[in-house]
């Protein structure tokens, strides 16, 4: 556009110079309309001479001074040009177009409407010709026109032809590459012009209608997909105002697409996105997905931020759409695109839209898992790719959300996990592990500050519920989630495998904060006993046990406090105890548990700086190192242990409860809680009904009431019918006396141990393999012993020496044992 000052300057110049002509030419007008003469005069004799400048100035001045003539001037110019086109005198056509351009720019906007009609007719005329040069020329004029801001609406003007024609030009297939490029460039510029002209004016054609978008968008994309490489930048440099600067169709198309998307309001986003998605399907552009990522990033970068969510939404709805030979790989590619753009949207998403996105992703995941489990023979890896891409998208999205929303999302995901009850189908298991993977992905983006915020009660309960699922790998995954959420000081990588040498690790330990203490006093029991249960499962691999070790050690570090030390030690003792007494565990698992117990025992004094305890544990470690390496970390899958070195043959290598109490006392910590009854039930299978209420139970009862011994036996009784192995070894001693019990609590003799082991194995085998009748039969003739035992126990219970829970471990054991022996002795004795 000409600068204003130039125009005014020219006007003044013309005023002075041509005043006299205007005065004396009135008389000639009778012969031929004056405007026609003026128009005729601007054409030179030979077209190569170009526009006659001085006469053009006259024409401009005339049209300015009598604007009512503008439409006739335009019309006459158009007629002349049409004739010239017909006669293929292109030189004159170009001159006519130039003249019209100048008039257009010189005109005041109020009078423009009259002229524009013929101007556009002229442009159309040129576009209709087959000559590329004229088409390009017409486009340039059109763009000039498009950049004029009109203040009067033009209701009747239509751009249908221009959109159609410019789109066709964008697809030019001219044999000569430079010509083809310039036609395509012209097409893109033309489209850009139409967009500019129509987008801001509600009264003219609605450019967002499908019939236009279906032409414009594919035309732009078609030009962009031709680029050799795709560099996505946040926004183009400002100087690329695109009128002259860009010489490559892809670049210009990109600028145009950005402009289009940037101007789209909420209602219009869809009309842009639909053709984009269709185009990708039709041209099979999802694979490889770099172009798709490129385009969608451009869209995300240029869209008005508050609408970016709708792009994510549209793409998500399209994930499963057919078309474009929609295989799993295409879906995976779409999901990859999604994961690439979802982060850009996350910053601007709020409230329900966030959950909607998450929900959508999860729904897609579930659909994928369902498909996967249906046809698991082939394509499996493709489906996996898809799932992985979706999970990545989830993680990317969550990563950019504020922390409180991450917790919401995690709770939401947990709520979608199928419950571990009953017999889980293969699909359930897959879904479970997929959702846990998602959870892990989100969890890793979360920065824990306070444990109570990271683990709202409902979330914690749901997590712990999953922790007892039957799939070993799923359980390991769950532990990893706990690691990421617990680990605030980046200790987790150091604690992946059990160790006893903590000095070298360089752990970061800080004092436990008050809110955390409150948290653990509320939920500690639930967490600990769930982890304890986790260690008791027959299907555990070394990985599972290491993972639980990591969780426990992180808990020990994060909650380092003198108030929690007793709980921790109690748990360690319980783990050790279970390694001896839980019959479902293999020898390897027993060794692993011993190793874990001693590793944790070594961690506690390291974290809390308790030298006496540290020394004690060190002694045990040294002793084990000499005699029983297999009871120390590192864990291994196979243990080659001579029978006489089996853990239960080495009672003097165990961590002793009394000794622990002494050590604590020496450090000034009250060990009484250590001596209360162990709240951890021994069996691997505890009634599910019981498990459900852990969190509430822990919260309402408080820790101390859990020591109430009456609670223990009752629940154990419930579970006992499904678990023949829940028993305590003292029941096996022949002569029951206080002395014997005490000895038994500190560990049975070697001979007894061997005996017990043999029995245990045979008992296990019997109850696993023998038919029920047979079992009944073989338990029949044992009445005498039972009677005898009953007698003995009766006498014991009369003994006033051991008040319940007063400190002697033997007394406690005895109390727990009683109900079993009473009713089920034959099971244990055989």
């Amino acid at each position: 556009m000409l600068p204003i000052n130039k125009i005014t300057h020219r006007l003044c110049f013309m005023m002075s110079k041509t005043l006299y002509i205007t005065c004396c030419c009135g008389c000639c007008s009778a012969l031929r309309p004056r405007y026609k003469r003026l128009v005729d005069n601007i054409f030179p004799a030979l077209p190569q001479d170009g526009l006659v400048k001085s006469n053009m100035e006259k024409l401009t001045f005339y049209s300015l001074s009598s604007p009512e003539k503008l439409d006739r001037i335009g019309d006459y110019l158009f007629q002349k040009a049409s004739r010239d086109i017909y006669r293929r005198r292109h030189g004159f056509v170009i001159i006519a177009m130039e003249a019209m351009d100048q008039l257009l720019l010189a005109c005041h906007s109020q009078t423009l409407n009259l002229f524009v009609e013929s101007f556009l007719k002229m442009v159309q005329k040129l576009l209709e010709s087959t000559d590329p040069q004229l088409q390009i020329l017409a486009t340039q004029s059109f763009v000039r026109f498009a950049n004029i801001e009109e203040d009067t609406p033009s209701y009747h003007r239509r751009y249908d032809f221009f959109v159609s024609k410019f789109s066709a030009m964008c697809h030019s297939n001219h044999t000569d590459k430079p010509t083809r490029d310039s036609i395509r460039l012209a097409g893109i510029r033309g489209l850009q012009g139409v967009i500019r002209k129509t987008v801001s004016d509600d009264l003219v054609e609605n450019i967002w209608e499908a019939q236009h978008m279906d032409k414009i968008v594919p035309s732009l994309l078609y030009n962009m997909q031709g680029a050799e490489k795709y560099e996505t930048v946040l926004c183009l440099e400002p100087e690329t105002d695109t009128r002259e600067g860009i010489e490559e169709p892809p670049k210009l198309a990109e600028a145009c697409l950005r402009e289009l998307v940037g101007r789209a309001s909420y209602g219009h986003i869809r009309s842009v996105l639909r053709p984009v998605l269709t185009h990708f399907d039709r041209h099979e552009l999802w694979l490889p997905c770099d172009f798709a990522v490129h385009i969608f990033k451009i869209i995300m970068f240029s869209i008005q931020a508050q609408y970016s969510y709708s792009v994510v939404e549209a793409l998500m709805q399209h994930l499963d759409a057919s078309g474009g030979g929609s295989g799993t790989r295409v879906r995976a590619a779409r999901a990859t695109v999604l994961s690439n753009i979802v982060a850009i949207a996350a910053g601007d998403s709020v409230g329900p839209s966030v959950l909607e996105i998450i929900n959508n992703l999860l729904t897609n995941l579930r659909a994928s898992v369902a498909r996967d489990s249906e046809l698991s023979f082939q394509k499996e890896s493709d489906e996996r790719l898809y799932q992985e891409a979706l999970i990545n998208a989830l993680g990317e999205f969550a990563d950019h959300l504020p922390d409180f929303q991450k917790i919401d999302i995690m709770m939401f995901i947990v709520s979608k996990i199928p419950s571990g009850r009953g017999k889980p189908t293969k699909a359930d298991c897959m879904l479970q592990s997929i959702l846990l993977k998602s959870l892990l992905k989100v969890g890793t983006t979360y920065k824990t500050t306070e444990l109570s915020k990271a683990f709202p009660a409902a979330f914690l309960e749901a997590l712990l519920r999953v922790s007892s699922t039957s799939e070993a790998r799923t359980r390991a995954l769950l532990q990893r989630i706990l690691h990421t959420l617990l680990d605030r000081r980046a200790n987790a990588p150091l604690l992946i495998v059990p160790t006893v040498n903590y000095e070298q690790l360089g752990l970061t330990v800080e004092k436990c904060s008050r809110p955390d203490l409150i948290f653990i006093s509320k939920h500690g029991y639930a967490i600990f006993s769930s982890l304890y249960e986790g260690l008791q499962l027959e299907s555990n691999t070394a990985e599972n046990i290491s993972a639980i070790y990591t969780t426990l050690s992180l808990l020990a570090i994060e909650l380092a406090s003198e108030e929690t030390v007793c709980d921790m030690l109690q748990l360690i003792l319980a783990i050790q105890q279970s390694a001896i007494s839980n019959p479902v565990l293999s020898a390897a698992q027993q060794c692993q548990l011993h190793a874990v117990a001693v590793a944790l025992a070594a961690l506690v004094p390291h974290v809390l700086v308790l030298p006496p305890l540290g020394d004690y544990v060190k002694q045990i470690i040294e002793a084990r190192r000499e005699e029983a390496e297999h009871m120390l970390p590192p864990l291994s899958d196979e243990y080659d242990v001579p029978p006489n070195k089996l853990p239960n043959k080495l009672p003097y290598l165990m961590i002793d409860q009394m000794a622990l109490g002494e050590c604590l006392k020496a450090s000034g910590i009250e060990p009484s809680r250590l001596q209360t009854a162990s709240p951890y039930t021994g069996g691997a299978t505890v009634g599910l009904a019981h498990r459900h209420s852990w969190v509430e139970a822990g919260a309402t009862q408080g820790r101390d009431s859990l020591a109430d011994i009456s609670a223990g036996p009752v629940t154990e009784l419930d579970s006992a019918n499904s678990s023949p192995g829940v028993q305590r070894h003292p029941a096996q001693s022949e002569s029951v006396s206080l002395e014997a019990l005490r000895r038994a609590a500190s560990g049975p003799s070697e001979a007894e141990r061997r005996d017990a082991e043999r029995r245990k194995v045979s008992l296990n085998n019997t109850f696993r393999t023998a038919p029920f009748d047979h079992l009944l039969h073989i338990t029949q003739p044992k009445y005498e012993i039972q009677d005898k035992l009953e007698e003995i126990f009766n006498s014991i219970s009369e003994e006033p020496l051991l008040p319940v829970g007063a400190g002697s471990p033997a007394g406690k054991t005895q109390n727990q044992v009683q109900p079993y022996t009473k009713y089920l002795t034959e099971l244990f004795l055989y």
Partner: protein, 202 residues
């Protein structure tokens, strides 16, 4: 002096390689381009013909037959006055696809659109679709039918002329009420003025 009284939009559709572009070239430029490459997207040609002494301008949109351009070509159906559906008489698959094309036309085009079925390449020796089969199909679906050869210039002129005549009759009956909105940038009133002026000037 060139101007016109009627403007009609004609869109050619059909499978890739049936000769749509050649038909258009033959009609607009009077030549048969051997080795014509596949059309990309949409091509545009214009031709003015005279019917009953009145000038009729035909805007011819020549679409790509390839599947991948289907979405952009479909967007051109909507404003068409006439749709020419082309198949290759020496290629059975192009004929077999006709029902699909009709479905697409149903979906995207104006339901009053003039539809013409054209069996192209009659110059070929290896005809696979007998004339009457094409004719039957056209009748069943309420279409006009014509067999052409772009190479031999057979029936090409006639094809477009008949379209022009038919559309003009339609337009005269109804004074173009329903196509009002889609006649390019020039609205009716202006065109009438323009035409009137031409008369004065002549």
């Amino acid at each position: 002096m060139e101007d016109y009284k009627f403007l009609f939009k004609v869109v050619l559709v059909g499978n890739a390689g049936v000769g749509k572009t050649c038909l258009v070239r033959r009609f607009t430029q009077g030549l048969f381009p051997p080795g014509q490459g596949a059309t990309i997207g949409v091509d545009f040609m214009i031709k003015t013909v005279e019917v009953d002494g009145e000038k009729v301008k035909l805007q011819i949109w020549d679409t790509a037959g390839q599947e991948r351009f289907r979405s952009i070509t479909q967007s051109y159906y909507r404003s068409a006055h006439a749709l020419i559906l082309v198949y290759d008489i020496s290629c059975q698959p192009t004929f077999d696809c006709l029902p699909d094309w009709l479905r697409e036309i149903e979906e995207y085009a104006n339901n009053k659109v003039l539809r013409i079925l054209v069996g192209n390449k009659t110059d070929r020796e290896d005809r696979e679709i007998p004339r009457h089969i094409g004719d039957d199909f056209a009748q069943r679906n309420g279409m006009y039918f014509l067999e052409t050869s772009a190479k031999e210039a057979e029936n090409v002129e006639r094809l477009f002329m008949e379209i022009a005549v038919e559309l003009m009759e339609q337009a005269k009956c109804k004074e173009l009420p329903k196509y009002d909105g889609s006649l390019g940038p020039i609205n009716d009133k202006n065109k009438a003025v323009a035409v009137a002026k031409v008369h004065v000037l002549n």
